[in-house]
Subunit: 300 residues, 2 copies
């Protein structure tokens, strides 16, 4: 069973809460507290899964686990506030921990986040290994909240930045979470946004299922990172870009007013096709079912 399938079964059985504006299943939960909307999300990095163990500077690992979570805050249209970190590691020199926390603090400062809590633990085993889980807390105004279940057929589909080749390029460690872009877009241009962490194809399917819509994806319009082909732009994870929908008659105005150095690309549109389905147009290669993660696709 896939992570999505396990989560779907688990989520169906969970109790809800009157103060829970939005529960598990989006990029962040939204919790009403003191009359304001608190954002909360957790994300983890594991050595030899999310980066090469022993080979990645501790500063970069710490920055990655924080920035992954900041990308979730960006996707909701929110502002990050506090972080809590759990870190477990096999035995290593003391300066490894100091470097890890120096990296975490530098990234926190860069994005105006305060570390509010932490827990250090030991991992068994002789080989260098780490596990880090970070919980981010943030805030969003009700009128700015963006969520996965708000896409409507006929809207345009847009993405920030470039896609694919995230591993070899080092992007998976070096990325900048799109917080400023998310704030700019939220409420004013879109109410439906998510961040791309598991690959455009897989994440769009999630967005489509949540909104009960399909997507038509213009493969020739995908903004590819240097070294990325169409397969990579659709299948590679860890882009940490924002994908979102915009009313079709407002796209030109958005493109004209976009103030950020990151590119902004129209990559398709929302359709009434089967929820979560993805129809590729202008594709010059056939993608396998595995590459498409089971998508329905068409060739130009």
């Amino acid at each position: 069973m896939s992570e999505d399938a396990i989560l779907a079964r688990v989520l169906a059985g969970l109790r809800r809460d009157e103060a829970m504006i939005l529960g598990p299943g989006d990029d962040c939960a939204v919790l009403e507290f003191g009359g304001r909307w608190l954002l909360a999300a957790v994300d983890q990095v594991v050595s030899d899964v999310h980066y090469q163990a022993g080979d990645t500077p501790p500063e970069a690992i710490a920055g990655k686990v924080l920035k992954r979570n900041l990308s979730d805050i960006a996707a909701m249209g929110g502002i990050p506030r506090w972080a809590l970190l759990a870190l477990a590691a096999t035995a290593r020199p003391d300066d490894w921990f100091e470097r890890f926390f120096a990296g975490l603090e530098a990234a926190a400062k860069a994005f105006d986040v305060t570390l509010a809590g932490g827990d250090l633990g030991a991992l068994p085993g002789p080989a260098a290994a780490e596990y880090a889980a970070l919980t981010i807390l943030g805030e969003v105004e009700p009128e700015k909240l963006c969520r996965r279940d708000r896409a409507e057929a006929g809207e345009a589909l847009l993405v920030t930045g470039e896609l694919g080749n995230t591993l070899a390029s080092g992007h998976h460690l070096d990325f900048t979470p799109r917080l400023a872009e998310g704030r700019f877009l939220a409420g004013r241009w879109t109410r439906c946004m998510m961040d791309l962490s598991d690959g455009l194809g897989r994440d769009l399917r999630r967005l489509g299922r949540a909104s009960q819509v399909g997507f038509e994806l213009d493969v020739s319009a995908l903004p590819r990172r240097a070294g990325a082909d169409a397969r990579g732009a659709i299948g590679d994870g860890e882009d940490y870009e924002l994908v979102f929908t915009v009313a079709p008659d407002r796209v030109e105005a958005l493109l004209a007013s976009w103030p950020f150095p990151a590119t902004l690309s129209v990559i398709g549109r929302v359709t009434k096709a089967a929820p979560g389905s993805l129809a590729l147009v202008n594709a010059d290669t056939v993608l396998s079912e595995e590459e498409m993660d089971g998508y329905e696709h068409f060739r130009a």
Copy 2:
């Protein structure tokens, strides 16, 4: 360097935040949000560190990681609200995850907590291993907040429940976090409380350093769990009981009004001795430096 030493160096370098009533270093952080006080803490469990890998039912692992965090909320005098879970595991049958989340949900329901978010990840390696980190969010009223740095010389030192022999007895999985007891005590009887997760001796040293006080510990008065000797009552971790201080002239009234089945014991007093020092009285055995975790100790 010990965890405490690493943390002390790390904490000294962290930025603060105007809305942070209490930062890292206590059982929970206290964050002002919407005019109310939010509690936040993170704690983790790792297979073969906190329990036997492959041998512990997934329901019990899930319950443990939630209840450890609830014990931190109890120590602040607070009420738990929401939990976020990061879970990484090596390959295993699908029903393992279902059982894990069923156990988590059962424990959450028992303590009126709602699961607000989660992340599932993979761990590399062939042997069964898991890593779970849980962040708890709660609430406390300003007049009920209890913290580690409020002990005053002359106060009595008390503890709930029984201490020691936590592993062989199964207590480390079967414990009940002292949420009701914490609420009863907070503000009315004490303003200085912490939970015992790393052993009475080690945790009292932390409490003493935070409050700049010493403790005199009456070894003959320690409430020992069946099978625990004095060494175990002082040195064993994972008691998940509450230790707190009370004005000496109010101890009798507290003992007379205590409404819970868990025992309540006066185990010593707060002194003006060196911060974090622990003087043992009425001890019938000599404890080694290692057993005492470097404590200064006296024999009766």
